[in-house]
Symmetry: C2
Subunit: 529 residues, 2 copies
């Protein structure tokens, strides 16, 4: 310890982490699955700077604006790190008013100065994968339905096999309910925020917030309760449509009509079965104007939605007695769930906040990759997947020799070069005279399928030995086969291809989990690859 040169703790900033090894590989596979779905729906990629002029972010996030990270004023423009990918997309649309129709995706990190719960994927720096559609002339609910279809394709592609629910609601229905119940206009947004907590807190707590903190008439709160505790499918919608008081309200009526159309389209897309029309869903952000949704799964909700006072005290004590390093991490707090794994909605007026001329209606969804990663990883660990492969190397080039062995370094380099030239993924030992066992162990540690073995006598005859790793004793090719250097690349590529086809056939024969989105699943099922 005393010898170390640094006097500060060697760590990443609070709420951030490094991604390496198997975690980085799994995360990349999740990205690939999601990107593939986005492209299947015709999306193009957009990338914006990690920071924006501070004015761009101002007034977009309601109460959450306090979580925005600011850059220091070092002379010049005043900037902040982006809080989401939606506002930068809207800013880009406002700057490009000639674009009247686009589907874009964006995979990037966003920044929120919140209290982290790291193992639950609640971070200060975290990835979002966003898909959004902007269209000046799209007919109602058609793009909205496709966005929800995309949500199902992503989660099926990830192999979740139906174990998720898409909660939907509509801002106009909510606003209509608040009006009908008698909430004063200026209190609608704040009462809406209170309602949104119903996934974490019981009605009694939410009512207390409305009445005691926000000064709402208790009778009004009780009326609200009769609506917002309801959830269901088409039958709930039909029942609301017979509620004469509600339908008499213009906002509620428009929302209900939208919802009826949406359900129709979701049926055509085979998505309706995954939907829960949840009247308590309100979403915190200011900019939504129509349909809103959240995808939840097991673990999204807190373990203990309402800890008793005793439990809460214990928890606080436990948190305080923990080491300094993670005293601010809420991973062990049962009142913190993973939260939603994807969320979004319609925001028809956000672009207009930047430029009236560029005004364009939008709808989109954001996938929370860190949370999706946590859940997918836990599932894979349950399935006891024990893949050790973190690289994709095809061939390990090695050399053996007896007394006076030189190591054949330049010869190994030459062979590696021949294979790289042909696009084969190759490694070799960076020792001049590596030991045979070291070379075999290095190949086995990474599950490299083939070895190319150099010996002085064979080389003199222009040959090397190609050996498939892991063949059983007695296999005719257990000791490898001699191949001419001139045809080595061709021979190795043919063997790799054969091995891949055989593996694919075996997987198919074993009747592995196959979902609709074959390629996505293949990307994710590490076991047996």
């Amino acid at each position: 310890m005393g010898k170390d040169k640094v006097s500060f703790t060697l760590k990443t900033p609070k709420g951030t982490k490094d991604w390496a090894g198997a975690d980085a590989l799994l995360r990349d596979r999740i990205f690939n699955t999601i990107t593939e779905v986005f492209k299947r729906h015709g999306a193009t990629s957009l990338d914006t700077p990690v920071f924006e002029l501070r004015e761009i972010l101002a007034g977009k996030y309601g109460e959450d604006s306090k979580l925005i990270y600011d850059l220091q004023d070092q002379g010049g423009e005043i900037c902040s790190l982006r809080y989401d990918l939606t506002v930068p997309f809207a800013r880009w649309l406002a700057m490009n008013p000639n674009i009247r129709s686009i589907k874009r995706y964006h995979i990037a990190k966003v920044y929120r100065r919140d209290q982290p719960a790291m193992t639950k994927g609640r971070m200060r720096e975290f990835y979002q994968c966003d898909f959004d559609m902007a269209g000046a002339n799209f007919d109602p609910m058609v793009p909205d339905a496709e966005v929800l279809r995309i949500a199902t394709e992503v989660f099926e592609g990830l192999g979740w096999n139906g174990s998720y629910t898409i909660k939907i609601n509509h801002r106009k229905i909510l606003d209509g309910i608040f009006e009908v119940c008698g909430v004063p206009k200026e209190k609608i947004r704040t009462i809406s925020s209170a309602v949104d907590k119903l996934d974490k807190s019981p009605w009694a707590d939410v009512r207390r917030e409305m009445v005691e903190e926000k000064g709402l008439d208790g009778a009004v709160a009780d009326k609200i309760e009769t609506y917002v505790v309801r959830k269901g499918g088409r039958e709930l919608l039909e029942s609301l449509m017979t509620d004469e008081t509600l339908v008499a309200n213009a906002s509620a009526k428009a929302g209900l009509e939208d919802m009826a159309l949406l359900m129709d389209y979701l049926e055509a897309f085979d998505v309706l079965k995954k939907i829960s029309f949840d009247m308590s869903l309100a979403r915190g952000l200011d900019y939504y104007t129509g349909v809103i949704y959240e995808v939840v799964t097991e673990g999204s909700a807190p373990v203990a939605a309402t800890p008793t006072t005793e439990e809460a005290q214990k928890l606080q004590k436990k948190s305080k007695s923990k080491s300094k390093k993670d005293d601010d991490d809420r991973s062990d707090d049962p009142s913190v769930g993973v939260g939603s794994v994807a969320a979004g909605g319609r925001y028809d007026e956000l672009v207009g906040m930047f430029s009236n001329r560029a005004q364009i209606p939008c709808v989109g969804i954001s996938f929370g990759v860190d949370r999706i990663f946590s859940i997918t990883k836990a599932r894979m660990e349950q399935e006891n997947s024990n893949n050790k492969k973190v690289t994709e190397v095809d061939v390990y080039v090695m050399a053996f020799g007896g007394k006076g062995f030189t190591g054949l370094l330049k010869e190994r380099m030459d062979v590696a070069r021949r294979l790289w030239d042909a696009g084969v993924k190759v490694e070799f030992s960076y020792k001049r005279k590596p030991k045979p066992m070291q070379q075999f162990e290095a190949a086995e540690a990474n599950d490299v399928p083939f070895a190319v073995i150099l010996g002085e006598d064979e080389l003199a005859a222009g040959q090397v030995r190609v050996k498939e790793m892991g063949l059983e004793k007695g296999h005719p090719e257990k000791d490898g086969v001699l191949v001419n250097l001139t045809s080595l690349a061709e021979e190795v590529k043919a063997r790799l291809e054969r091995k891949r086809s055989a593996a694919a056939a075996t997987n198919a024969g074993e009747g592995k989990d196959e979902t609709v989105i074959e390629k996505g699943v293949e990307g994710l099922v590490v076991k047996g690859e």
Copy 2:
């Protein structure tokens, strides 16, 4: 203008930009080519936070530290945006002392508060693609040679076809020269920085800096000149090795021996032909300890290395008369070149700056994607590539009908769903009753290869029409073929596959540019795809 709601300029922060459309697509292809090369050499992915504790970055970048972006102190830790990907990699190695050997790649944005020259790819926020190897027990120069091999594979993969040079030098040779010439020890780094400017400025200017600004004895500067103006290959190395004064210096001797070994290995890797041993190459960063290199190409150097006073005045005037928007951009300044497109070297002591225990020797290279992008794009524009495709959509689902036509929206949705289920990339109009021409134009605008056309009568018989776009008049399938809905997905996939194979065969037959790294080129040559 008066109607717009925002009072500030709608823009991205200075020195940053959005990536969209064809640019984003080309950039992604460059990423893919580079990633493929990195993986071919067994690299795994590492991702670190965009900001680090400020102490981590302190004392690593010499004079350039003033360019670091700081986050505002909002309570809690003091952080800065990363300046490169090398220091975060070293910090990660120091935090993981059990890792004694790794090849990692990292593609991400880095941040420098420099004066931008946007069209030349000199930005404040820009991408780096880094490959680095850390190894406790690697033998000398073996990994260094592989890193330079990777450089050639990347540029060949990008289709640059040899039009680049790898300048190499060695810190120990440079230090030896400075010692031999009589530079005082405390002036070695600052004199080294002056030498590094020889790619942009003539010797007279560099000498002036050394003598007048940095107080070096003129006679010492003149001795330095005899060395640093030299460049060449093996013959230069051999000539230096006969320089008895130089070889008597321990540092120079060690550097020259390294260089001889490196050239040997580069020959085995078929890279030597791309190398220029350039004794003026010094690299600014403090942390290099051994071999250093930069990859340059046409456009790397300034157009006018030394503008006359008159030219300089004109330039300044021109710059001042430009619109406010880009008055700080140096894109038009002929004294600013694109700079190097990749650079790196050996840094054996950087990890030890964080933790003695984790000390591990490293070597790596960083590719400047924004500059590579600018050059690749310019080349493609010269080649008059006119590809309009920015999405990869396979099929556009459309509907036609006569009087009383309903638009068949839900039917189009159902057909799209069937194709998405099979992994086919599909779009359709978001209008309830789209006009035939609108639908055809939307498909043509994106070069979509197939249309699936719905008509009420065919649908009643359980059929739709599959039509390949762009067939000539008189082609037997010009009007498409009728296909049963139940076998639609299968039929479309077979046709897509056939079309792809045919296109590949045509390209091969035409004898298109083919370099060693076939797949990379295929990814980049947009023309004819």
